[in-house]
Symmetry: C2
Subunit: 174 residues, 2 copies
């Protein structure tokens, strides 16, 4: 059996896409393997994971490309600019191949809304360094990305508490 | 909208059930909220997540109830004993209500194989402390558990690299 860097996708409308990415990041960090996370949508630095991430110092590189949820945006041009800058950063980090794992969190939205060029993204992923693992999260992963990926998990919502009138809670949702 | 401790289930045959649990644990730890993890099946302490977990010291309580994968076991009586001890520990920690989040990782197997009494488990979960979050992971969550849960995510395997002849890799699979 071969050892190779995987292209992974967490998609679907259920919970756990970003949370599982975070777990994967911590698993790698626990092995003292360097991780780069670029968050494309959620821009709040209050999240518990960021506080936790600080404990790993130089091993973790964390960037936020977006400033809020795209569907609440009042400034699409600014969102597009943020997405493009995030992708430029991702492309340079992928080419550098210095990380064990690069996570492009909520990146599918940038693809879905045409903020970045899908063909270009696929070409970069197709020619990534052999040993590098890349994980892309977000709803509605485009078919060509799923086709290219080595591992795709769909997080399917069977039950969701927000639909049952329970609000988002610290240490669980964020 | 109400604030309450959730009963959460990560099930399905895809990847990410335990990894998302781990992410949730780190998110809570980042908020300085105490977490208890009881791992029912995988018993190896080499995993990256355990090394990462050490950084949180007293905030994280970690136990391993099982010693290996159940389907490779040559000693079912020992497995059953381990599962029961794990559940007794879980029950006491749930009753104590001192944690923000208690994770019963791969606990569905103990239910599926009748190693613990499902009715008793459901009763304990039904009467857990109001503020406590409990997360149960594993394939084939029983219908009554899904019925009782507030949040259920099915991790569905769309593509899996092990099926494509790529072996499990450090910092990704473990």
């Amino acid at each position: 059996m071969a050892t190779k860097g995987l292209l992974m996708v967490h998609t679907g409308h259920g919970k756990g896409k970003t949370t599982a990415a975070l777990g994967l990041a911590f698993r790698a960090l626990g092995h003292r393997l360097p991780v780069c996370i670029i968050q494309f949508i959620k821009g709040t630095w209050k999240y518990g994971e960021l506080t936790a991430a600080e404990r790993f110092g130089d091993l973790l590189e964390f960037h936020v490309a977006g400033k809020g949820f795209i569907w609440k945006s009042k400034d699409p041009a600014s969102d597009r600019q943020a997405a493009r800058e995030g992708w430029e950063l991702a492309r340079s980090r992928i080419a550098a191949g210095k990380h064990h794992l690069i996570i492009l969190d909520e990146f599918t939205y940038a693809l879905k809304y045409g903020m970045v060029d899908e063909e270009e993204v696929l070409a970069v992923l197709r020619h990534k360094p052999e040993a590098l693992h890349v994980l892309i999260t977000g709803r509605d992963a485009p078919p060509a990305l799923i086709e290219l990926a080595d591992l795709v998990t769909e997080m399917r919502a069977v039950k969701h508490p927000l639909k049952a009138g329970i609000k988002a809670q610290k240490g669980i949702e964020f």
